[in-house]
């Protein structure tokens, strides 16, 4: 438990401590950072007895290997024998049972089933395609969002800007109508912010259930009457001459919606928060705009939206000095890897021109975030317009509220800000 004395004892192998560790508990960012620092200091991999027992990887090399070695560490819900749809206790997002019924495709598939679904997402989201197909849309969304509050001199950076931006970009691309955008972004924001099972979490599950229903509706409609949007492409593609099954189509669209919304929002709002607390970095970006890309990479390292993922061991494997058995669960921590001093000198410091910066924020190996290039584009365009249109923005610190849970997601619930008002610049309503 956070803040308590760690009770550790040696395993029979003598290699790895058993730790009191449950990252799913309610804790602040500071507590979570401290817990991971303790884990890292002790050993690369430990054993926690929470949630039926699981391995905790906390050092860079072990975590990177855990992500890369898909042949040993499965992402599938059917990695242990179970009925149709698999076992929700074996999801790749959480060690605890995930209340989302939809299997995420291709994130929760292993090769060979993974491969065609990855291809169909990789092509429209490749660096070249992102630059060609998304740049104008991203810029227009940002301009429209800032226009809506620029004359007022105040806004909530999350609810008015960083949350609706990726929702608008992803949902426009897929083909969801605009009236769905805000409720989708708020649903994902809530599921990331609150502790599983808490009253706030239960409230947000109403919106999540509605959203799951909307995704099903739209997927069904596109399968019956394909249009020219991305969702129609995704849900009707063929493998060996056969259109993919309905549940795979649903999983693919759910991943495309969910993967890009609150994650990109979290990284973008953390980026703006960083500029508020670090005027020296804001000044550096203004004086040396060529630092923008390395600045964004360092934001990604220090504020990873996805803090952890889970895997299931499917063959006896050694990782970080311990031997894991088929059926064991394994927690991989992007955030702990990103703060490992062995991989990042002065890891606790924000180094604006850090190089190399091989952070794990987008994961590693075959499941590397397929939307990573779109996320980078949105962060960069957002930063450019904010620095140009509201360069003196500052947070109302008393209104800054962080997520209640820092187990699998990072971020802030509210981020009110003020700035010198400016003129609207958009000419066409969207």
């Amino acid at each position: 438990m956070a803040g308590e004395e760690q009770a550790t004892e040696e395993l029979p192998s003598g290699q790895c401590p058993v730790v009191q560790f449950d990252h799913h508990e309610h804790m602040t960012r500071e507590q979570s950072q401290r817990e991971w620092a303790e884990r890292r200091e002790q050993c690369p991999v430990a054993w926690s007895e929470s949630h039926g027992g699981f391995w905790v990887a906390s050092q860079y090399d072990a975590i990177a290997e855990g992500f890369r070695n898909w042949e040993s560490f499965s992402s599938s819900r059917t990695a242990r024998a179970s009925g149709p749809g698999g076992d929700p206790g074996l999801n790749s997002l959480w060690i605890a049972e995930n209340p989302m019924p939809t299997v995420l495709v291709p994130e929760e598939l292993d090769p060979p089933a993974w491969e065609p679904y990855r291809r169909v997402l990789a092509e429209p989201l490749s660096p070249r395609a992102i630059k060609r197909d998304f740049t104008d849309s991203v810029r227009a969304h940002i301009t429209r969002l800032i226009d809506a509050f620029i004359e007022k001199g105040e806004c909530d950076l999350i609810h008015d800007l960083t949350s609706p931006l990726p929702a608008g970009v992803s949902l426009d691309w897929l083909g969801f109508p605009e009236e769905d955008h805000r409720r989708f972004s708020e649903a994902f924001h809530g599921i990331s912010a609150y502790v599983t099972g808490s009253p706030e979490f239960q409230d947000i599950m109403v919106d999540v259930t509605w959203m799951v229903g909307r995704i099903e509706e739209e997927v069904r409609a596109r399968r019956e009457n394909p249009t020219d949007d991305a969702m129609s492409q995704l849900v009707n593609f063929e493998i060996d001459g056969e259109v993919i099954p309905q549940d795979m189509a649903l999983g693919l669209v759910t991943l495309a919606v969910g993967g890009g919304v609150d994650t990109t929002s979290s990284a973008s709002s953390s980026m703006l928060m960083h500029l508020h607390f670090h005027p020296e970095d804001r000044a550096a970006l203004t004086e040396r705009p060529e630092l923008i890309d390395s600045f964004i990479e360092e934001v990604l390292r220090m504020y990873p939206p996805a803090r952890t993922h889970a895997r299931t061991v499917v063959r006896e494997t050694e990782l970080g000095g311990v031997t894991m058995q088929p059926g064991d669960r394994l927690l991989l921590s992007e955030v702990s890897a990103n703060f490992d001093e062995e991989a990042f000198p002065d890891a606790d410091w924000f180094v604006i021109d850090r190089f190399p910066n091989r952070h794990l924020t987008f994961g590693m190996g075959i499941h590397r975030c397929p939307g990573s290039h779109l996320a980078r584009l949105q962060m960069k365009e957002l930063l450019l317009q904010v620095l140009e249109r509201m360069p003196d923005f500052r947070l109302k610190e008393e209104g800054l509220i962080e997520y209640h849970s820092w187990s699998s997601s990072s971020g802030y619930i509210d981020m009110p800000a003020v700035f010198t008002p400016g003129p609207r610049v958009g000419t066409t309503p969207s």
């Binding site: 291809r119 990789a122 989201l125 490749s126 660096p127 070249r128 190399p356």
Partner: protein, 63 residues
């Protein structure tokens, strides 16, 4: 100098082309499996930087 790209390790992070677009190239899915032999004269530092940036350590440089 050779920049040997191990396509089986590439996960499409695209950091190589970001650092050295004159040296490296991605396929239509955004992955790299093309060894550069030889690295054009004058681009050696860029090639090294692209290799260093790769989170998967998929690129090795042979002097």
């Amino acid at each position: 100098m050779k920049a040997i790209v191990d396509g089986s390790l590439c996960a499409g992070h695209a950091r190589c082309v970001f650092e050295a677009p004159e040296v490296y190239e991605l396929d239509d899915l955004g992955y790299n499996s093309t060894t550069i032999d030889p690295v054009p004269p004058g681009l050696e530092d860029k090639a090294r930087r692209g290799a260093d940036a790769c989170p998967e350590r998929a690129i090795s440089i042979q002097e």
